[in-house]
């Protein structure tokens, strides 16, 4: 009983505070990550040779370096060239760039799967390259990339816990703090695990809703 009261009045409020920080990390990172990922993905398909090379290198580095290394670079490394980022901003930058590299893989594949007839049709009507991408190929590619990108967002939710390692006190960090004070590691981290499971479940439900709402006749077989 005492245990329950303790959890109810001490642990949960602290975790809730951490959860809010986690969400403040995840939402902008998911948004920027997807946005940058689409641009990188488009460059890798439609860019000039130099741009393609540059985008490929970007992906090689941001997929190849462990996320922890990237976070350390943004938070501990950048001050050495005079750029100071708060733990929160450094985390969002790190998460966005890393997940953009993964998003770009799905986006690239999806762009490549758009039939050439679609680009021919657009060009024949006088679309410029940018207009063609924006209005014809991207809307189609996005629908096909969505299942993969959705997975990436689920990963992002879990990896957001690494913000703790650059002193951004989100859900995991809050848990670590109260657990060290109370030595109730097992209980507290079980609760935290459950919260993450809940978050990923909600996120995949939302992503499914989005996927379904974008579903068009002729695109059914791309549904995950």
């Amino acid at each position: 009983m005492e245990e329950l009261l303790f959890i109810r009045f001490e642990v949960l409020p602290a975790l809730l505070k951490g959860l809010v920080v986690s969400i403040k990390l995840i939402v902008p990172s998911a948004f920027f990550g997807l946005f940058i990922g689409i641009i990188i993905g488009a460059l890798r398909v439609y860019g000039s040779t130099i741009l393609k090379k540059a985008a490929d290198t970007y992906v090689l580095i941001f997929r190849g370096f462990p996320l922890v290394v990237q976070l350390f670079i943004w938070y501990f490394g950048l001050p050495h060239i005079g750029i100071y980022l708060s733990p929160m901003v450094a985390s969002i930058v790190g998460f966005s760039l890393c997940s953009s590299a993964y998003h770009s893989e799905y986006v690239r594949g999806a762009f490549l799967s758009v039939k050439t007839g679609q680009t021919m049709g657009a060009k024949a009507l006088g679309f410029s390259k940018l207009q063609m991408i924006r209005f014809i190929t991207l809307p189609q590619a996005f629908r096909r990339a969505l299942p993969g990108c959705g997975n990436e967002i689920i990963y992002l939710i879990k990896y957001s816990s690494l913000a703790y390692m650059i002193t951004c006190i989100e859900l995991t960090g809050q848990g670590k703090i109260i657990a060290s004070e109370t030595f109730k590691y097992t209980e507290i981290f079980m609760i935290i695990g459950a919260i993450y499971l809940l978050l990923t479940t909600i996120a995949s439900w939302i992503l499914h809703r989005v996927e379904n709402s974008l579903l068009l006749p002729g695109f059914e077989h791309y549904k995950a």
Binding site: K115, G117, A122, A124, L125, G126, S128, Q131, L216, G218
Partner: protein, 254 residues
Amino acid sequence: MAHRKTILRIEDMTKRYGSKTVLKNASLSLKEGELKILIGPSGGGKSTLLQCVNFLVKPDKGRIWLDGEEIIHSRKKELYAYRQKVGMIFQDFNLFDHLTALQNVQIALVKVKKKTKEQARTRAINELERVGLGDHIKKYPAQLSGGQKQRVSIARALAMDPKVMLLDEPTSALDPELISEVLDVIINLRLHGMTMIMSTHQIGFASELADELVFLEDGNILETGPPKKMLSDADCERTREFCSKITELYGNSF
């Protein structure tokens, strides 16, 4: 009739893929309201020629004039403006799969020609009604038959007010019973004086409607002439052979 002005002039068009020359020094000119039909065996260069005309395939050599103005395709803006004035119909329609019939016709009007949504919508509905699809404007390409798709693509091209239309075997991807609904639309265009180049195997249709037939083989324009002459006593041996074979195959009428 002889004083109609030339709308489109193509000179010395050449295209190579590696060591293979698929189009050799093709020259062609098109007067206002004229319909020229490209005939010849598959792989003979008809499709390449049409795609070179609006630079969907970049020719290695050759010049094009529209309304007396030469088109320099390396100048992007000029190229885009030119393509807006040249309507293209593809063998496999190339409707935008993520857009409804209405949106397919509308999108270039709004995004390329910068018309207002309202103007574009009215125009698009008009064009779709003209090709007999007034009841299907909300359908996606996946929900339309081949003949309907091709008619949407014709409406899409017409909405741009093209000076010339290029039709690349517009009926060859269609089931036989759907061919006539598309041909009817093309006949209608012809009657309204649209200037067109079309490639087709419908030889009966070609002979009835074309001002001139153009015979292409191995990338060469071998012979050009009025349909009657081309079909009954062409100058060139290969033309005669091809025409008799194809008449046998597809019949003389349509």
